[in-house]
């Protein structure tokens, strides 16, 4: 498969601050590549480097050419914190950006893609934050690009709009569009991306498919049991060859597959231990993120549970059961 993006040893500094430090990256044509990382990790700078909007050291090839030399009809970009003219309607906005290309898509089709047909004639400044972001996404789609850069495309979009946008991106990817996106939503990246790169302190510290990254860095699935008798429950489970850790009000059982849940419940029942809740979680990209970046939300998480980031209620696989009283 041909490569849409090839970056080798890309570096960028702002004064004493190192924004990118020797980043090597390849993205194949038709691939969806997700960039994740903490704020300030270098995601936006890398997008700017790949689109030729900031000078960097190292080598970058976009379809085999310098970023500034590549045919702009093939590229689409949604910059971070992008704010277009506020007093154009959504339709005028799409018309405006479409008018900059020789071969642009039909405005109504773009508006339909981003779900703004009903509000097409409202001024941008009167739209909700999510609708505004969808207009911005639309401006990146007007030329039907072969390579689409999206810097935090779903920021501020409500769950319904976000899912609609995910489906749109999935259809674009299915049609062969190469997508490079950044996001703080691990669920988004995990769902959309064929491969994921984690940037930290300007370095690409891990690259792989979501499944591979989770297998390598996500840890094991866990069962969290809410119970007042946590010490007794941990002892009973440990005696049954489970790896259980007690803390006030709960027991965390590590490495529990779904088929083992019933056995753990039987152990509690046999020991006559009551519990309030059972929550089973499997590792997700968010666990990978937390593991590799060393970030955590102390005091805001129960051990073993995944952190929920903004707008990410559909994130890691998590199933909760009502409590039982044995």
């Amino acid at each position: 498969m041909n490569e849409a993006v090839v970056a080798t040893g890309v570096g960028k500094t702002y004064g004493d601050t190192v924004a990118l430090d020797g980043v090597d990256l390849t993205v194949a044509e038709g691939e969806v590549f997700g960039l994740i990382g903490p704020n300030g990790a270098g995601k936006t700078t890398l997008i700017r480097a790949l689109t030729g909007t900031t000078p960097v050291t190292g080598d970058i090839g976009i379809f085999g050419q310098e970023p500034t030399a590549v045919d702009s009809e093939r590229i689409g970009l949604l910059p971070q914190s992008f704010s277009p003219p506020a007093r154009l309607t959504a339709r005028e906005m799409i018309d405006y950006y479409a008018g900059l290309y020789d071969d642009a898509r039909d405005t109504d089709a773009v508006l339909a893609d981003v779900g703004l047909t009903e509000t097409a004639d409202s001024w941008y400044e009167t739209l909700s934050g999510g609708q505004q972001r969808r207009v911005c996404v639309g401006t990146a789609l007007v030329n039907d690009p072969d390579l689409l850069f999206l810097d935090e495309p779903t920021t501020g979009i409500d769950p319904v709009g976000r899912r609609a946008l995910w489906e749109l991106l999935e259809s674009l990817a299915a049609g062969g569009t190469t997508v490079v996106l950044t996001s703080h939503s691990m669920a988004e990246v995990q769902r959309l991306s064929d491969r994921v790169g984690l940037l930290q302190d300007g370095q690409l510290v891990a690259v792989g498919t979501p499944d591979d990254l989770i297998a390598d860095h996500g840890g094991r699935s866990r069962l969290v049991i809410g119970t007042d008798a946590s010490d007794a429950a941990a002892s009973a489970l440990t005696a049954a060859d489970f790896t259980a850790t007690a803390s006030p009000g709960e027991v965390v059982v590590d490495g529990v597959s779904p088929v083992d849940i019933g056995e753990a419940v039987d152990v509690l029942s046999d020991a006559d231990i009551s519990y309030d809740s059972l929550t089973w979680t499997e590792p997700s990209l968010e666990d990978v993120y937390l593991q590799l970046t060393g970030e955590s939300f102390e005091g805001a998480m129960t051990p073993g549970a995944s952190a929920i980031t903004e707008g990410e209620a559909e994130g890691p696989t998590e199933r909760a059961a009502a409590g039982g009283d044995q």
């Binding site: 970009l77 154009l88 005028e92 950006y97 479409a98 030329n143």
Partner: protein, 254 residues
């Protein structure tokens, strides 16, 4: 054809954006109107010896026109560049086929229309509110290229200001600081013989001087004494220089 399409698209967006900012529209036209009303109708010119406004009313037509030809492009183009930069619009545009030159052509075209309308308003008010009369001759049509070239020149200047200033506030402060002395010290409202002798060469350095002298010849008659074609050629050369500098100054990367 595609270049024309791009410029048209950018210009239409800029035109709609301007028209829908009602305060911007109001003050763009109110500023020259209030100037003509205050100095032309209320203060009135005093054709005696010495002092400000000592010449006949028609002498000051270039000054009134200069208020829009100078202030409007400087502040509008400069602010637009600062706004584009703050909103990451140039980052977006850098990945489209629109070039920096095309962007500046589009915004210059919009400014030309706005300033053309404001100039017509000024000329009408001067005739209505003062005792000035504007001679209509075969060369009167040259007012159009004088205004267009001056707009091109100061749009380029505004683009350079927008690049150098780090915010919209900075652009406005810088454009006022530069435009105010230029407005009064470019043979517009104050004639050379009212200034110290050593100031003469500085007046020659101001691009607005050539606009003022040429326009005065066309609107005040032969009494102005300056050859308008020479001034037009100098203005055209300066317009090219400033436009090229402005197009080059427009940010494309960070």
């Amino acid at each position: 054809m595609s270049r024309g399409r791009r410029i048209r698209s950018e210009a239409v967006a800029a035109w709609h954006s301007f028209l829908r900012r009602r305060t911007a529209v109001f003050f763009t036209f109110f500023f020259p109107v209030i100037l003509v009303v205050i100095f032309g109708a209320l203060v009135r010119t005093q054709p005696t010896d010495g002092g400000l406004f000592a010449e006949p009313a028609a002498y000051y037509i270039p000054g009134y026109l200069a208020t829009v030809v100078l202030f409007t492009p400087l502040s509008r183009v400069g602010s637009e560049i600062a706004r584009h930069r703050d909103d990451n619009r140039f980052e977006k545009l850098a990945t489209t086929p629109l070039s920096r030159t095309e962007w500046l052509v589009a915004h210059t075209a919009v400014n030309t229309v706005i300033i053309g309308l404001a100039s017509l308003l000024i000329l009408g008010l001067v005739v209505l509110l003062t005792d000035a009369s504007i001679p209509i001759t075969g060369s009167s049509a040259l007012l159009v290229p004088f205004i267009v070239l001056a707009v091109i020149l100061f749009c380029g200047f505004g683009a350079v200001l927008g690049r150098l200033a780090d915010s919209q506030d900075g652009v406005i402060a810088a454009s006022n600081t530069i435009a105010l002395p230029l407005l009064f010290l470019s043979d517009t409202f104050i004639s050379l013989d009212q200034l110290p002798g050593w100031f003469g060469p500085l007046v020659e350095l101001s691009p607005l001087t050539y606009f003022a002298r040429g326009v005065r010849t066309l609107t005040y008659g032969p009494a102005a004494g300056d050859p308008y074609l020479g001034n037009l050629l100098i203005l055209a050369a300066l317009a090219v220089v400033f436009f090229v500098a402005g197009a080059y100054a427009i940010p494309r990367t960070d």
